[in-house]
């Protein structure tokens, strides 16, 4: 009976039955990639953010500038003074001097093997963690530490981080823009296909109306058609998108790990990509329903 009803409007013989799934697949594919990109970029930004938020780096120069008064003390004493000052500061959770090895690892790209030699008079670096809620005011901290050891500088990474986050946000914005555009294009396509279906089958619709079919009966046929095509297309698009992402993730893991930042998605994030074809299907179905009901309302 249900099958029989569906045939009242012969939509499955229209060109739309063959083309719409591929158009939807194409759009879902693009939306999936764009959404994945947005999520990945957000992951990276979050990693940076939580990696750097609440962290300060304090540099104690190897020897005080000539103008300073405490030229007598060695670097160790100066570092200890700074560490003491830091630990007394409210809101500071911990302060640790970077070891020789850590310094060497940081500087290796710039200084080569020489970075490891103990006799290189590098500034001491102190990694400080603060309680984000009670972070000390930066300028006053700078002043206090400079008093503890002249020439000491505090860096809260905000400049670098700010720029990186701005790039990330822009990339995300672009991705969201693409998703929105694709969504709009999908709606336009479904409206178009439905309108076209209505005009191809106008005589059928009029006749059904004339022999006493309710509007919902007619709308249901278009709705089911759009649902089926949308779902097919959505799943094809998702499958292709997932395959592309998987290949990319593999490639990133193997080859480009050092250059490209962490671009992998967590499992819930992978699942959230499922929303794309489902949304496409829903959009297709509702668009078809609304378009048909509006057209029918114009029949007396």
């Amino acid at each position: 009976m249900i099958l029989a009803r569906q045939r009242d409007v012969p939509l499955d013989k229209d060109a739309s039955a063959r083309f719409l799934p591929w158009l939807i697949a194409f759009m879902v594919y693009l939306a999936t990639l764009a959404l994945a990109a947005a999520i990945a970029v957000s992951n990276v930004a979050q990693a940076w953010d939580s990696g750097l938020a609440g962290k300060l780096t304090v540099q104690v120069p190897p020897s005080p500038p000539p103008s300073a008064g405490d030229s007598g003390r060695g670097q160790t004493a100066r570092v200890d003074a700074v560490l003491d000052a830091l630990r007394e500061t409210p809101g500071v959770r911990s302060a640790e001097q970077l070891s020789q090895q850590e310094m060497a690892r940081l500087l290796e790209p710039w200084l080569g093997a020489a970075a490891g030699s103990a006799d290189l008079p590098l500034p001491a670096l102190i990694a400080v963690e603060v309680v984000p809620a009670r972070a000390p005011e930066l300028a006053s901290l700078q002043r206090r530490l400079d008093r503890a050891a002249a020439g000491t500088r505090v860096d809260d990474h905000q400049r670098t981080l700010g720029r990186l986050l701005e790039v990330a946000r822009t990339l995300q914005l672009l991705a969201v823009l693409v998703v929105a555009l694709v969504g709009a294009a999908a709606v336009v396509t479904v409206v178009f296909v439905t309108r076209t279906g209505l005009s191809i089958h106008r005589n059928v619709i009029e006749l059904l109306h004339l022999i006493g079919a309710q509007d919902a009966y007619v709308a249901r046929q278009f709705q089911r058609h759009a649902l089926r095509l949308g779902l097919t297309g959505g799943l094809i698009g998702l499958a292709l998108g997932a395959a592309t992402l998987w290949a990319l993730a593999r490639w990133v893991g193997q080859e480009a790990g050092a250059v490209v930042p962490e671009l992998t998605l967590s499992q819930p994030q992978w699942l959230s990509l499922l929303a794309v074809p489902l949304a496409a299907t829903l959009v297709a179905m509702l668009t078809a329903r609304i378009t048909v009901l509006r057209t029918l309302a114009r029949l007396s």
Partner: protein, 240 residues
């Protein structure tokens, strides 16, 4: 309700005028009522407004002024859902058939039953008999585009009568068949009429009208007013 219908007519037109958009009126101040179980012919020249009159009756057009009631109810008061239900009690043979090209003759005929939710496989036998009766026993599964003009018209007639409507409206239902088949089809209408269906038939076929002798509604107007031109205007031939 039955009594209201009895006294006011199954179809009642009160001072009904009708025109398409801003054009000259097609129908002007038409008043009549058709008692339940009556059989009327609608006559008039081509363009006189016969089809328009039927369209008002099957709720496809709305009157420009005046009042139409069907089955005792003012049609202007009906909701969309009411109208759908009322249409299920009206069988229509459209002048241009309006068959669904993708459904077989049998499915086309069964469509009103299905839309009304009244279709059961038991009725399939009835559909077949009816198609056989109009001479299409061999064309049960043919699609309308593969039928001749007269065959299509007969499918349209079968579809209009299948659900035993209370009101049957037929617009030029015999224009594509010869007089022998036309008489047979009218016999079908008369049979239905005897069982209580109110019948209204718009036609040009004066032969049939004379033979059956039912009351007529005659529409004047239309475009019979254009003067004849003595010789048909004919171009010089293209080839030679």
């Amino acid at each position: 309700m039955r009594s209201r219908v009895e006294e006011s007519g199954l179809v009642r037109f009160d001072q009904v005028s009708f025109n398409y958009g801003p054009n000259a009126p097609v129908l002007r101040d038409v008043t009549f009522h058709l008692p339940p179980g009556s059989f009327h012919f609608v006559l008039g020249a081509s363009g006189a407004g016969k089809s328009s009159l039927l369209q008002l009756m099957y709720l496809w057009q709305k009157p420009t002024s005046g009042r139409i009631s069907l089955f005792g109810r003012d049609v202007a008061q009906l909701t969309r859902a009411d109208k759908a239900l009322m249409r299920r009690r009206i069988g229509v043979v459209f002048q241009d058939f309006r068959l669904l090209d993708h459904l077989s003759a049998r499915e086309n005929v069964a469509l009103p039953l299905r839309v009304a939710g009244r279709y059961t496989s038991g009725l399939d036998e009835h559909v077949r008999e009816l198609l056989a009766w109009v001479g299409l026993g061999d064309y049960l599964d043919a699609l309308p585009p593969t039928l001749s003009g007269g065959q299509q018209q007969r499918v349209a007639i079968a579809r209009a009568v299948i659900a035993r409507p209370s009101l049957l409206l037929a617009d030029e239902p015999t224009g594509n068949v010869d007089d022998r088949i036309a008489l047979r089809l009218l016999y079908l209408f008369e049979e239905l009429n005897k069982m209580g269906t109110t019948v209204v038939i718009a036609t040009h076929n004066e032969n049939l009208i004379e033979r059956l002798g039912h009351p007529t509604i005659r529409l004047t107007g239309g475009d019979s007013r254009h003067p004849a031109i003595a010789h048909p205007p004919v171009l010089p031939a293209a080839d030679a």
